[in-house]
């Protein structure tokens, strides 16, 4: 087969279709995976503390900093940036807790989330890079959400959290709640 074959219209058309399938298939696969997690995953509530930076590629979002961001890893030490599978449960207070971290997907231990480690410490506590750390909003609403959060936190309210669906190691945010109410509902009167 000589190189001229690769320049023929027949080959280029086949090549084009392969590229088109790849270009359309990847976003489609992303949607299918996230929809599956949202519809069939188990819901967990993670306590948060939002701030608001700017990401040129993806518009404005509320940056979420989880209160639960480490796991005890007795007997096992992890390197920074290592991929781990962290088992998640709902604690007595109704909010999510990480119980253990593993190098391979844990079987029979309930739900787990795939994430990376930040760093470990001598006390056996491993800090985690939480994969759901943004809540995207309209660029006018994101700063409003931040203000609303501070107002809620000033009132000594501990009921600010994100609802996250978890399935097969994947986690997708369902909604952000300020004082137990979805953020968009709070912002509707002051929003658009």
């Amino acid at each position: 087969m000589n190189i001229e074959f690769f320049k023929t219209k027949k080959f280029m058309l086949h090549f084009f279709f392969a590229v088109a399938i790849l270009q359309l298939g990847l976003p489609a696969a992303m949607i299918v995976r996230y929809e599956d997690v949202i519809r069939n995953g188990t819901q967990y509530k993670f306590r948060t503390a939002p701030v608001d930076p700017y990401d040129a590629f993806r518009g404005r979002y509320v940056a979420l900093s989880m209160r639960e961001d480490s796991v005890r890893s007795d007997g096992e030490s992890f390197n920074p940036c290592e991929t781990v599978y962290v088992v998640v449960i709902t604690g007595d207070d109704g909010f999510a807790k990480f119980t253990s971290a593993h190098r391979t997907p844990p079987v029979g231990k309930g739900d787990y989330i795939k994430m990376k480690t930040r760093w470990g410490s001598d006390s056996g506590e491993t800090r985690l890079e939480i994969p759901f750390d943004r809540f995207y909003m309209n660029e006018h609403l994101a700063p409003e959400a931040e203000k609303a959060y501070f107002k809620a936190s000033r009132q000594d309210n501990d009921n600010t959290f994100v609802a996250v669906r978890v399935k097969n190691g994947h986690a997708v945010i369902e909604n952000l709640y300020l004082d137990g109410t979805p953020v968009l509902e709070i912002l509707q009167p002051t929003g658009k």
């Binding site: 270009q23 990847l26 940036c81 995207y136």
Partner: protein, 447 residues
């Protein structure tokens, strides 16, 4: 054929004179014209169309990304999904048209760039819809991976350059996360066939130059990121090897009758070697070296493996190119390339054996003197003012820098500057006179 438009124009301009002077017969001149064919025309309107096509596509694509970044809360998931796919479908439609109709370069470059931006925006908007956290680096990774086939589908240099910039940005974002930088080197291989075919078609074309400039800049940045403090010493060797490789590849493979901007390797290589050699005359480079070298204490395995792999990939072709340069007598490339590597290897060895920075610093001071004097000698011998001045510039730089970090008397420094400046002027005047005399002698011979 190895002759470019400029060279051919010059040759055809000379032919009538050569025929008139009886150097060539009319039929021989005809045969030369027939052999080389017409001077290829540069169609300025075509180039303008190409530039505006690419710019237009980038602006439209950028505008779409900004509009999507607005994050339309009012829209439901379904509408947002449609919004994510719409620009991509339009881009693919234009792509199908350009493949079916086999459109020209301007069209393909524009469509390629637009498709790449559209696919990036579709991933971004889906991420936004599902609040997928994650970082710029994982977004760039996915985007670049699905975009690279566009380089070949549209034979698009714009996409190739955007791809290289994308993977280099990802490597910068990941610089603290060592082993993943290996991905950059592997992904950069994906552009190589495009660069190879472009260079094979024309060594000194604007397309090849743009690709090689982008590749060299990305490699220069990512080379530094691939090493950590524990492998710092290997980083010095890698940089010297990389710039030496550029010098030699530029001279042995990609030399041609074109301006330096069209021969990026011949520019980046020597400049890089001089910068590295100048840095190596400072103590801090070598202090770090012997302090941390001891059997690479603390270097993690993945980083060390990556460092060694990079060195092997640089040094094997480098040795081969040195042999080629020796055979082809490319002495200037060997001064910059070959001798720099020898100096670097020797310095690393000495720094490691003696744990002192004095010897390596001395070696590189001598190396710069050697480069300066050699360039002056080449300049004088071949009557090339550019080489002569380059040699003088290297020597002046060395003297200038040594003056700032040595405890010499101000009067002495001043005098040396005056002497150096005078040498510069005298050498230039002598060279200009010599050239004029040569020209007169040639004129006398022909009369």
């Amino acid at each position: 054929m190895g002759i470019d438009r400029k060279g051919l124009k010059w040759l055809y301009g000379e032919l009538p004179g050569l025929v008139a002077e009886g150097v060539l017969g009319e039929d021989a001149a005809g045969r030369i014209r027939k052999h080389y064919g017409d001077v290829p025309k540069t169609d300025t309107s075509k180039i303008a169309l190409l530039i505006f096509g690419i710019l237009g596509a980038l602006l439209i694509g950028g505008g779409i990304i900004l509009i999507l970044a607005h994050n339309w809360d009012a829209l439901g998931k379904f509408e947002r999904t449609v919004l994510a796919f719409l620009p991509l479908m339009a881009a693919l439609g234009a792509g199908a048209y350009s493949v079916l109709k086999d459109k020209g370069t301007a069209w393909k470059e524009g469509v390629g760039a637009f498709t790449m931006l559209a696919s990036g925006s579709s991933i971004a908007i889906i991420g936004q819809t599902y609040h997928v956290g994650g970082d710029l680096e994982s977004f760039l990774f996915t985007w670049m991976l699905i975009s690279f086939p566009l380089i070949y589908l549209f034979n698009s240099t714009t996409v190739a350059m955007m791809f290289m910039a994308g993977i280099a940005s990802r490597a910068c974002a990941l610089s603290w996360d060592g082993p993943h930088i290996a991905d950059f080197w592997l992904m950069s291989l994906l552009v190589f066939p495009h660069i190879f075919f472009s260079v094979r078609t024309s060594r000194c074309s604007a397309r090849s130059a743009l690709l090689l400039w982008t590749l060299s800049i990305c490699y220069t940045i990512c080379l530094g990121l691939s090493f950590e403090s524990a492998t710092h010493n290997l980083r010095v060797l890698a940089y010297f090897g990389f710039f030496a490789l550029s010098c030699l590849a530029g001279k042995v493979w990609l030399d041609g009758p074109a301006t330096i901007w069209l021969r990026p390797l011949s520019f980046i290589g020597p400049v890089g070697v001089i910068v590295m050699a100048t840095l190596s005359t400072y103590e801090w480079i070598w202090q770090d070296y012997y302090r941390r070298y001891r059997l690479l204490d603390g270097a993690d395995h993945a980083r060390l493996l990556l460092a060694i792999a990079i060195l092997v990939v640089i040094y094997i072709p480098l040795v081969w190119l040195i042999v080629q340069a020796l055979r082809k007598r490319r002495y200037q490339a060997l001064i910059f390339g070959g001798s720099a590597v020898v100096a670097a290897l020797l310095s690393c060895l000495l720094a490691n054996l003696t744990s002192k920075s004095m010897l390596p610093m001395l070696i590189f001071n001598f190396y710069l003197v050697f480069v300066g004097v050699s360039l002056i000698a080449i300049g004088v011998r071949s009557s090339r003012l550019g080489r002569l001045n380059m040699g003088m510039a290297v020597l002046s730089l060395l003297i200038f820098l040594r003056f700032f970090d040595s405890g010499l008397d101000i009067l002495f420094r001043g005098l040396t500057f005056i002497i150096m400046g005078s040498c510069f002027m005298v050498a230039n005047v002598l060279m200009v006179r010599r050239k004029a005399a040569l020209k007169r002698a040639e004129g006398g011979q022909t009369v």
